[in-house]
């Protein structure tokens, strides 16, 4: 099978293809997300001065684009979601405004018993309004 990533211009690597900005995060959003995660830790569930968001809350940042211009938009539906790496920074608190910057971070190949696999890594860096790192999320897509 032809490499589905062969035509992707490697010059796209590292270039920002989307910047998304959230509305101010509310306590209700944070608590709803924590409840949906099955959390029982009061830090994430009880409204008040000590409330912080679940460490994975940055994944909730709404985005419009999933791949850069020049990459077929349906590509992510043709690959397998191979995994995610999340580096977690400062806590999200009510009132925070999150900014996410998306880049095509890496394209690499691995060869195993089943043949060649190609991986595409999309990176989302999320910061708060003070420029503090909230999360760096690498999503790995795998193509046979």
């Amino acid at each position: 099978m032809a490499d589905p990533l062969a035509d992707i211009d490697r010059a796209l690597l590292g270039q920002v293809f989307e910047q998304s900005i959230s509305k101010p995060v509310t306590a209700e959003q944070m608590i709803r997300y924590a409840q949906a995660c099955g959390e029982t830790d009061p830090r994430y569930l009880e409204d008040g001065p000590d409330l912080v968001a679940n460490p994975t809350f940055a994944v909730t940042l709404r985005r419009e684009k999933f791949v850069p211009e020049g990459v077929p938009r349906d590509l992510i539906y043709r690959g397998m979601d191979a995994g995610k790496d999340v580096e977690i920074g400062v806590h999200v608190r009510p009132g925070d405004v999150l900014t996410g910057v998306s880049t095509l971070h890496d394209i690499y190949e691995k060869t195993g018993r089943s043949g060649k696999l190609t991986f595409l890594v999309l990176r989302l860096v999320v910061e708060n309004q003070r420029g503090e790192m909230v999360a760096v999320i690498d999503q790995k897509m795998m193509f046979r």
């Binding site: 099955g38 029982t40 460490p55 979601d81 995994g83 790496d85 977690i88």
Partner: protein, 144 residues
């Protein structure tokens, strides 16, 4: 989500090679749907069996981000009040509703850091009959 947690114990008592207390859980279809709404990740495959089947899947599946949240809960259960710093997950099979699962982990490294200890762990989410669904790693800082 129905889940059962053992009594929390301090991760500070754990050492290289020790097991984290397992987290037993079963995701209900409604809870997966609620998660994707709260995470701004709404897609038919996450909402119903019909939606999943339209995408060629066996039925409704849970998004990978929910597996990250489960790993986060597992680490926090072992280290109440600690700071989860990194989570990596490799998706090996679909996480589906109404399947009894066990999230487990083992401490693979312990380092002294300023003001505390940094624990690295191997993590796994599997069905009760031992089918591996998600494997990964986690890093958590415990202030001492």
């Amino acid at each position: 989500m129905t889940s059962q947690r053992d009594e929390p114990a301090s991760i500070a008592d754990l050492d290289f090679g020790d097991d984290l207390r397992p987290l037993r859980l079963t995701l209900e279809p409604e809870q997966i749907a609620e998660y994707v709404h709260s995470a701004n990740q709404v897609a038919p495959r996450f909402l119903s069996d019909e939606g999943g089947q339209q995408d060629g899947l066996p039925g409704q599946i849970a998004p990978g981000n929910l597996s990250l949240a489960i790993f986060s809960r597992l680490l926090e259960q072992a280290a109440p009040g600690a700071q989860v710093q990194k989570i990596s997950a490799t998706f090996r099979a679909f996480v589906r509703p109404a399947v009894a699962m066990i999230a487990s982990g083992v401490v693979t490294d312990v380092e002294d850091r300023d003001g505390g200890k940094l624990f690295e762990c191997d993590l796994m989410l599997e069905t009760e009959i031992g089918d591996r669904l998600v494997t990964g790693t986690g890093t958590v800082f415990v202030a001492l």
